[in-house]
Symmetry: C2
């Protein structure tokens, strides 16, 4: 693969924070809540919140909001589209790495 093809790749996952979030969510196999993501990844709350919003808008994650006891709780889960997009992105990266390394 030519680096040019890599450049033409348009994905939300080109941001490293979002890539890490999706990697974490997909690896987990179970939904993760805000607090878990927060301390797995050590982000600020605002930062995490806005990335999750973008991933949600793009359909890469689903968000469930509920109350546990009296407290609000938000849980995130990678959608099928999200898993597919992560795979696609990692495939492209793998190719770039392979070609670059030869």
């Amino acid at each position: 693969m030519d680096p040019k093809n890599f450049l033409s790749l348009d994905s939300l996952l080109t941001d490293r924070v979002r890539l890490a979030i999706m990697a974490t969510l997909c690896a987990a196999e179970e939904p993760l809540d805000f607090a878990s993501l927060l301390d797995n990844l050590e982000l600020s709350k605002g930062n995490l919140s806005s990335h999750m919003r973008k991933l949600d808008d793009a359909g890469l994650v689903s968000i469930k909001k509920e109350f546990v006891g009296r407290k609000p709780k938000t849980t995130y889960c990678a959608t099928e589209a999200g898993r597919a997009e992560l795979k696609r992105y990692l495939d492209v990266l793998s190719n770039l790495i392979k070609e670059t390394r030869q």
Copy 2:
């Protein structure tokens, strides 16, 4: 590797354009001039120019300026530090991919 470690990675190469530039330069094994990079990667001149400046400031590429005939010519070459940085970056990515895929 934990995605958190990936997040802590601080590199100029987290930008995909610069990653493509370094991949191209390192793959080439010979210095490339501005025009070559320009049409290998299909960037605008301004965009390429500013990325090259950053890579130069960081010591990842060296820049040679000369006149060929009557025309100015700028040639770029990956430095040892640049090659090392590309390797480091790709290693980290490989790890992330491996762990994420298992």
